[in-house]
């Protein structure tokens, strides 16, 4: 689904110097995978995601998205919801459809499905300022899914909500993944979250940012709070921890 080859990003600084944010990454992500990308700050995980999204230009290397002629191949969820504060929840979610010129009736149906999927039923006409952080993030996920992109990119989507909400949202995200079959890339700095969610894990390390290691997770789905009691889960979390510690 996503193939990157020799993908590199350098940021030019004032005065001609440049910082290597991502040293060459070559990796393949299969269709329908849920990839957790974990690493300390400065490891280039967000840069990697933004490159895949087309929000940054690669300094070198290639990204191939096997998405055919889809006009908008990726949906993106930011750390904060980044909803348009002057639009209601419904209008925010349908924004990608409206700006792509979708028919109104089609959009209405699609938006109602999404609102039910992310559990915002009853809040369709609320403004973002009236919602809690967790609900805003649900709306942002629904918006990212609105025009049905095959790939969903999430940049630390739950780091701004409280722990309890975060666990709920994790479970709902897994449900959404199962229901939609999207290929998901989720950046996080929490090893627990990475292990709990991912079918695959990319561990990245800083200075310079690089892909250090990849895991294929063999914990069974559906994952539930019981998953966190499995020895395999604990072994994985402790492996990830030591990977991150080595990078310090």
């Amino acid at each position: 689904m996503i193939s990157v080859s020799g993908l590199t990003k350098r940021f030019e600084m004032d005065g001609g110097a440049s910082v290597l944010a991502l040293s060459p990454v070559t990796h393949h992500i299969p269709e329908g995978a849920f990839v957790s990308i974990v690493g300390p700050s400065g490891c280039g995980k967000s840069t990697f995601l933004r490159l895949v999204a087309g929000l940054e230009e690669a300094s070198d290397g290639t990204i191939t998205l096997d998405t055919g002629a889809t006009r908008r191949p990726v949906g993106f969820v930011f750390q904060d919801a980044v909803l348009l504060p002057w639009k209601t929840v419904r209008d925010n979610i349908r924004f990608p459809l409206d700006t792509a010129g979708a028919k109104k009736s089609e959009g209405n149906k699609r938006v109602q499905e999404l609102i039910d999927l992310v559990g915002l039923t009853g809040f369709e006409d609320a403004l973002p300022k009236q919602l809690s952080g967790g609900m805003r993030q649900r709306a942002a996920i629904a918006r990212a899914l609105a025009d049905d992109p095959p790939i969903l990119l999430m940049d630390e989507p739950f780091s701004a909500v409280d722990l309890l909400t975060r666990e709920t949202l994790n479970d709902e995200l897994l449900k959404i993944w199962k229901a939609t079959g999207k290929t998901i890339l989720l950046v996080t700095h929490s090893v627990e979250e990475a292990a709990y969610l991912g079918s695959d894990i990319m561990v990245m390390s800083p200075r310079p940012g690089r892909l250090k290691k990849t895991y294929s997770v063999d914990l069974p789905y559906p994952r539930t709070p019981e998953t966190k009691a499995l020895p395999g889960y604990h072994a994985l979390v402790s492996d990830l921890r030591s990977d991150l510690r080595e990078t310090e």
Binding site: A53, G54, L55, R71, R72, V74, G75, F76, F78, D80, V82, L84, P85, W86, K87, F95, P96, T99, A100, L127, P128, K129
Partner: protein, 255 residues
């Protein structure tokens, strides 16, 4: 809405106090009529002009010029702000000249505008325009530059066309800043309109003032001044009402 009621009472009390002081100075205190007409004389002059219809063309002329100047100045100010925001290079280049123009005393240039644009409507509109344009430009520029950078990411991700991006994201996001400029500009527009009517022409509230002053019709002068103040308050209240409707989505901070 106890807040609204309270401010209504406060404004009312201030106004009443002013009226009483005015009445006292012109009546019991015995100020000469040609210096200070009584409130009664002023209001009866105003009333007479409303009834015989001679007031309306003047009021309409001033209001019309203010609204026109405000509209043209706002559109031009927002347009230039957007161009400068989109082209940072041009913005650094024009920074100096704009500061010079912005700080130039536009009111002092009013006679020059008459020389350039004649005694008619054009010179008046140019003066009002020049007073409205800069506050709106500054407010809009601050608004555009304050847009969350991730909204740009969103526009890129959704592959928005430039016009979609302007109307759907940039313009609404900059509206709070634009309104700050508009409200300052509206007050300036009123000053500009009255001043322009002092200089030339025979229409408008400003003209009424110079005419009344020259012929010692102080009740008329006071009536014109009173109307102008009321017009200023109405402009401000109107803009505030529009603002609170259009910006209802905004998170009120500090309250």
């Amino acid at each position: 809405m106890p807040r609204q009621i309270r401010s209504f009472i406060e404004y009312g009390a201030a106004l009443a106090l002013l009226l009483v002081a005015w009445w006292y100075a012109s009546g019991p205190m015995g100020m000469p009529k040609y210096l200070l007409p009584s409130p009664q004389a002023t209001f009866s002059t105003l009333w007479k002009m409303m009834v015989d219809g001679s007031l309306w063309p003047h009021l309409w002329f001033t209001v019309h010029n203010i609204v026109m100047g405000l509209a043209i100045g706002a559109v031009a100010g927002i347009a230039l702000a957007y161009v400068l925001y989109k082209l940072p290079r041009l913005s650094t280049l024009l920074d100096g000249p704009l500061v010079v123009l912005q700080t130039a005393p536009k009111i002092a240039l009013a006679p020059l505008f008459v020389v350039w644009f004649g005694l008619g409507l054009a010179a008046k509109l140019v003066l009002i325009f020049s007073l409205v344009f800069f506050p709106v430009l500054i407010g809009a520029l601050a608004g555009f530059r304050g847009i969350d950078s991730r909204m740009h990411d969103l526009a890129v991700l959704l592959k928005l066309r430039p016009l979609q991006r302007f109307w759907q994201i940039d313009m609404p996001a900059a509206l709070p800043g634009i309104f700050v400029g508009l409200k300052i500009g509206a007050v300036q527009a009123l000053v500009g309109a009255v001043l322009a009517e002092w200089i030339s022409g025979s229409d408008g509230l400003g003209y009424l003032m110079t005419y009344a002053g020259a012929t010692y019709k102080t009740p008329l002068l006071f009536a014109a001044v009173l109307l102008t103040s009321l017009l200023g308050i109405a402009l401000h209240a109107g803009l505030t009402a529009i603002e609170s409707r259009v910006l209802a989505w905004k998170v009120q901070d500090g309250r």
